[in-house]
């Protein structure tokens, strides 16, 4: 092992001077040699086998020897250099078979303070006659090192960007392949550079795919080329859109495609490639076709609706006109009936009047037969008058010319009046007629005349259709509904269930035949129902054939004027 610090004393300036001046006489050859060595820009040193510095040229002294009065930083740099040099020297001495050793050595420029890289080349001096030692040449490789490092860096970057480019390309391929639409990249001359998978399926087929498929793929390719020609050459468009009628190579099914091709330009504006994207129009066409169908159906429907609306409007207009005509006809009918009624009454007045006078013996006594016949004239005349009066009533109700006259009144008095008016008729029958009224009957607020007319009519009917037994009027107050129910119950012929509604219709009796047994107009119940409705009530019937009937007028205790 060489000693660790043998360099310091001999490298002191004094020593050096002494070393330089150690030969007694200046030898011109030696001086020349010395000048020669000093002129070399690389440091050159000669050391003893132990590493002690014996000789150094000017550049080596700059690095490894501190001058008298050098700054503290300078001395420290030199000291550091000496140590580094020694370490390199030691390590050079230990390795390898070759006598010439090379080691990298970093030193500091004591003046500039910059790092310097040297290659330390040590060569043992074996010239006979020369002192044993070794020649150390420090080759400045600082710039070379920098260049190497820069080169390494560039290379690394290149590798990285190459890697990046490769993964970019891979990603691009993946993206392109994942797009359903065929994408074709061509160079400016139209030669295909890149295709994604969907495009490959359309344009490229190998010979083993079969003749037909190959032919179709070529046909597709021809279509594409023809399409691309729009962008090729001088004055080609930057961007071109069109339709391509392709086919599916495998099946030959038509494949309408929308194609958009764009020039890709370099930074200098030179065309570098053309990217063409195809889009399947089949679905769009189908949609368009369906839309067209829907539109046509819709417009058809619209026409139909329009026609129907027009028809409806026409119908409405017709109906409106008819309604108007009906209204007018109804008014005319009412007027006609009113006039008729008057015209009927005038002669009937004379008929009944003269008959009555004759029966009273104004013109002398008559034979019993004459009297009987006159009585028939009288009774038929009265019947005719009743018919006319009832027709007139209905006419008045329908024409809205029967006003309501509301007043407060008690029911018992009213029923008493009814019984009194019917008394002559009751007297002619053998029926037991009576009234049983509840004690708690309240005062009514209604149209007295109409209530009376209904009860009179119901009682008159009961008497007409009952041959034996009884006719009974009763009245009760139903607290819960605030209504009064006035019933006329008889033991007469009754009504079959299927006829129960019919009897309320105009001119209807159960037997409406010309040979019917019972007289009357068949308007009585119809009038009753109308009158009841006018005073907010209704007429109901309970009956069974042969079991008698009960007609009931239900009316609110207090009629509210609407």
């Amino acid at each position: 092992m060489p000693s660790t610090a043998p360099l310091t004393p001999p490298l002191a300036p004094g020593n050096e001077e002494r070393t330089e001046s150690s030969p007694a006489a200046p030898d011109p050859e030696r001086t020349l040699l010395r000048q020669l060595v000093d002129a070399v820009t690389d440091p050159i040193l000669f050391t003893s086998p132990e590493g002690q510095l014996l000789m150094a040229n000017a550049r080596a002294r700059q690095l490894l020897v501190a001058h008298e009065g050098a700054s503290e930083g300078h001395c420290r740099a030199v000291e550091l250099n000496q140590r580094l040099f020694h370490t390199a020297l030691v390590s050079a001495a230990t390795g390898g078979a070759s006598p010439v050793r090379r080691r990298d050595l970093s030193l500091v420029d004591p003046v500039e303070g910059t790092d310097l890289l040297f290659e330390l080349i040590t060569t043992p001096a074996r010239e006979p006659g020369s002192p044993p030692g070794q020649v150390c040449v420090l080759r400045n490789v600082t710039d070379l090192g920098r260049a190497t490092r820069a080169l390494g860096e560039s290379y690394r970057r290149l590798r990285a960007s190459e890697q990046e480019a490769r993964s970019e390309r891979l990603r691009l391929d993946l993206i392109l392949d994942s797009v359903e639409d065929p994408i074709i990249v061509t160079d400016p001359s139209g030669a295909t550079v890149l295709m994604n998978t969907p495009a490959e399926q359309l344009f490229s087929a190998t010979t083993d795919s079969g003749e037909a498929i190959l032919r179709r793929a070529r046909t597709n390719d021809a279509h594409l080329s023809s399409f691309l020609s729009h962008l090729l050459g001088q004055g080609g468009a930057r961007r071109f859109r069109g339709e391509l009628q392709l086919v599916v190579p495998a099946t030959g099914a038509p494949l309408p495609m929308e194609a958009v091709a764009s020039q890709v330009l370099s930074d200098q504006g030179e065309p570098t490639s053309i990217v063409t994207v195809l889009h399947d129009r089949t679905e769009a066409r189908e949609k368009a076709r369906l839309l067209e169908q829907v539109k046509s159906a819709s417009s058809e429907l619209e026409v139909k609706v329009h026609t129907a609306t027009a028809e409806l409007a026409e119908q409405n207009e017709k109906l409106r006109r008819q309604a108007l005509q009906l209204e007018q006809a109804s008014a005319a009918k009412s007027q006609f009936l009113a006039n008729m009624s008057h015209e009927f009454r005038t002669p009937l007045n004379a008929i009944l009047g003269y008959t009555s006078m004759l029966l009273q013996g104004v013109n002398g006594e008559m034979t019993p037969q004459q009297r009987r016949n006159l009585q028939r004239i009288d009774s038929n005349g009265r019947h005719l008058l009743q018919v006319i009066n009832e027709i007139l009533d209905i006419t008045r109700i329908e024409a809205g010319r029967m006003p309501l006259n509301l007043s407060d009144f008690m029911l018992p008095e009213l029923i008493q009046e009814v019984m009194a008016e019917m008394d002559p008729i009751i007297a002619r029958t053998k029926l037991a007629a009576g009234a049983s009224l509840a004690q708690d009957l309240p005062e009514l607020h209604s149209d007295r005349q109409k209530v009376k007319q209904v009860v009179l009519n119901l009682l008159s009917n009961a008497l007409k259709f009952t041959h034996e037994g009884s006719v009974q009027i009763s009245a009760v107050y139903e607290f819960a509904t605030s209504t009064v129910a006035i019933s006329v119950k008889d033991t007469g012929i009754g009504i079959a269930p299927e006829d129960l509604e019919k009897i309320f219709e105009d001119f209807q009796q159960v037997d409406s035949s010309p040979t019917r047994v019972y007289g009357g107009t068949g308007l009585g119940l119809s009038i009753c129902r109308r009158l009841a409705s006018m005073i907010g009530g209704r007429v109901t019937v309970q009956s069974a054939l042969g079991q008698g009937s009960t007609f009931t007028l239900h009316l609110p205790r207090r009629m509210r004027h609407s």
Binding site: A338, H342, L348, N349, L352, S356, M357, Q360, V362, L392
Partner: protein
């Protein structure tokens, strides 16, 4: 005697354009002990009323020339005839009811058809009311 009896009989003016009805009522009134004068329209009714000053007037309301309403109004606005009771007769059930009656004060109102005895009863009632 006869003369005084004749004078004592009330005079009824029957106004009706329908001859059969007019004569029927006239005959029954005479039969019932009244003296009767007849008029076939409103104008004639006014002439007879001013000339005869009857005790009661039976006035059909629908009359030619001058209708019963107008005739009654004129009778009631004239000093000479104002006090004579008027029994109005009408066959119209639809129109006119209750309207003219308020304008023109009739003393009674009878709807046709009206039997002669009913009418006479009405006349007697009106006369009795007046006599009171």
């Amino acid at each position: 005697m006869t003369n005084s009896a004749e004078v004592a009989k009330p005079l009824v003016l029957v106004v009706d354009d329908y001859q059969d009805a007019r004569e029927m009522y006239a005959e029954y009134l005479e039969f019932s002990g009244f003296r009767v004068a007849e008029a076939a329209n409103g104008a004639e009714a006014l002439d007879k009323a001013f000339a005869l000053l009857p005790d009661v007037i039976l006035m059909d309301l629908s009359l030619p020339v001058l209708d019963g309403w107008e005739a009654t109004r004129r009778l009631k606005s004239d000093e000479r005839t104002r006090a004579i009771p008027v029994v109005a007769l009408t066959g119209h059930a639809l129109a006119g009811e209750g309207t003219g009656e308020q304008e023109v004060k009739c003393d009674a109102f009878v709807i046709k058809p009206c039997l002669p005895d009913t009418l006479v009863a009405e006349v007697k009632k009106v006369l009795a009311a007046r006599g009171r």
